[in-house]
């Protein structure tokens, strides 16, 4: 049962790469957005909030299609990035990472936002009276105190990115070795005669990875929480 074929390894490795890159790129953007939503009032805040949550409520195939229209080779953003930076998303693993990043973004931002909202702002005031400029307050007080939420958001986002299917397959298709993640490999195997056993293998592997991420998130969140409570 556990003779994992090279093709399957490729899918596993690709899934991990896609999810790691999606999470690492999303994290700084997520922290900035979470901070804006938690702390600032500005025109269009409700719109930004809705936009971020859109991938959660839209059918994934719609999100994938919208990505194809805008970030495909002929899409406005895709053509711009290709022409000026040489970055191509369509039918590449980078496109899979973009799709996963967009789909997981609401899950990544939410815990970050909640943890920034929960910070006692009087501590930031105290830092100010001790001579810390606003950016120093952010780096030495806000960010460390928000760490449990930042880690939780990263891990939630990572778990979601690992399992993303609909938007990815719509945007970058299902090319073995380039865009075929575990999810799309399972999808292909199910449609093949005698594919049941290998599909089941990948199902077990993806379940283990997802549960592992959740356990890790719980562990880090608890540890960070102790620190934030001054123990």
């Amino acid at each position: 049962m556990f003779d994992i074929t090279p093709e399957e390894w490729t899918a596993i490795e690709l899934s991990l790469r896609v999810a790691v890159v999606a999470t690492l790129v999303s994290t700084p953007i997520g922290i900035a957005v979470a901070w804006l939503l938690a702390r600032r009032d500005f025109w269009g805040k409700a719109l930004l909030d809705a936009l971020i949550h859109l991938p959660l409520v839209l059918p994934p195939v719609v999100t994938g299609y919208l990505l194809l229209l805008s970030f495909g080779r002929r899409g406005p953003a895709g053509a711009f990035l290709d022409h000026y930076f040489g970055i191509v998303f369509s039918f590449r693993w980078t496109g899979a990472a973009l799709a996963c990043g967009v789909m997981s973004f609401p899950l990544l931002v939410r815990p970050m936002r909640l943890s920034i909202e929960a910070i006692d702002r009087r501590l930031e005031q105290a830092a100010g009276t001790l001579g810390a400029a606003p950016w120093q307050v952010f780096l030495t007080v806000t960010l460390p105190l928000a760490l449990p939420g930042i880690v939780a958001g990263m891990i939630m986002g990572f778990a979601k990115a690992l399992g993303e299917f609909g938007a990815t397959i719509t945007f970058v298709s299902n090319i073995p070795g380039e865009t075929q993640t575990i999810s799309s490999a399972i999808y292909s195997l199910i449609q093949t005669p005698d594919g049941d056993m290998p599909a089941l293998r990948l199902v077990v592997i993806s379940a283990v990875m997802a549960i592992g991420a959740l356990v890790a998130s719980e562990f880090f969140a608890r540890r960070a929480l102790r620190r934030v409570h001054g123990l």
Binding site: R122, A127, T129, L130, V228, G230
Partner: protein, 221 residues
Amino acid sequence: MLNVDVTKQLGELTLEATFQSDSPVIGLFGPSGAGKSSIINMIAGLLKPDHGTIVVGREAMDDTTRKLHVPPYRRRIGYVFQDARLFPHRNVAQNLDYGRRMNKLPPDATHLQRILDLLDIGQLQTRRPGQLSGGERQRVALGRALLSKPRLLLLDEPLGSLDQDRKAEILPYLERLRDEENIPMVYVSHDPDETRRLAGHVVMLKHGRIVAQGGPEILPA
């Protein structure tokens, strides 16, 4: 030393305060809701006056006619809050060192040792804020403010959250601080005995207005 002449509308309360003093300790005395905390928040720069000026030493901190408002982090005014507000994610030593680092002051081992001795907090340095008693927490907060080398120290009911025994534990430290360190202080309290023990000049407030000011003898018995 300190020159305050401000007005500020705070909801229903109109705060109007004019006082100046060279006394080492100015006591702001009055019942809660009189506007004492708002005044020292304005001195610290955490609150902007609607009109008026605040001058510390010879330096203007606020002057609404010139639209001048120096932000708190550039004032070098220390602040000890009623609830200590130690950073929970840093241990005592890191809390104490915070102001020095933020102000980019060179390490000063003699000054550090003097403050640690003055407040008896040397043995607490590896502890985390959650592991301190209320009195210890307040002494560390005092040390943290002093170690940022402020030109003025604001104390907002620093004994307010402590019981009688703890108050008696901290008061002598505050007296030592007044007598041994050369830092002017503004001490906010609603307790006449505390204010009498510490302050040289008392400003009495009620409903946002100064009702009396002068020596400690003006305090009610």
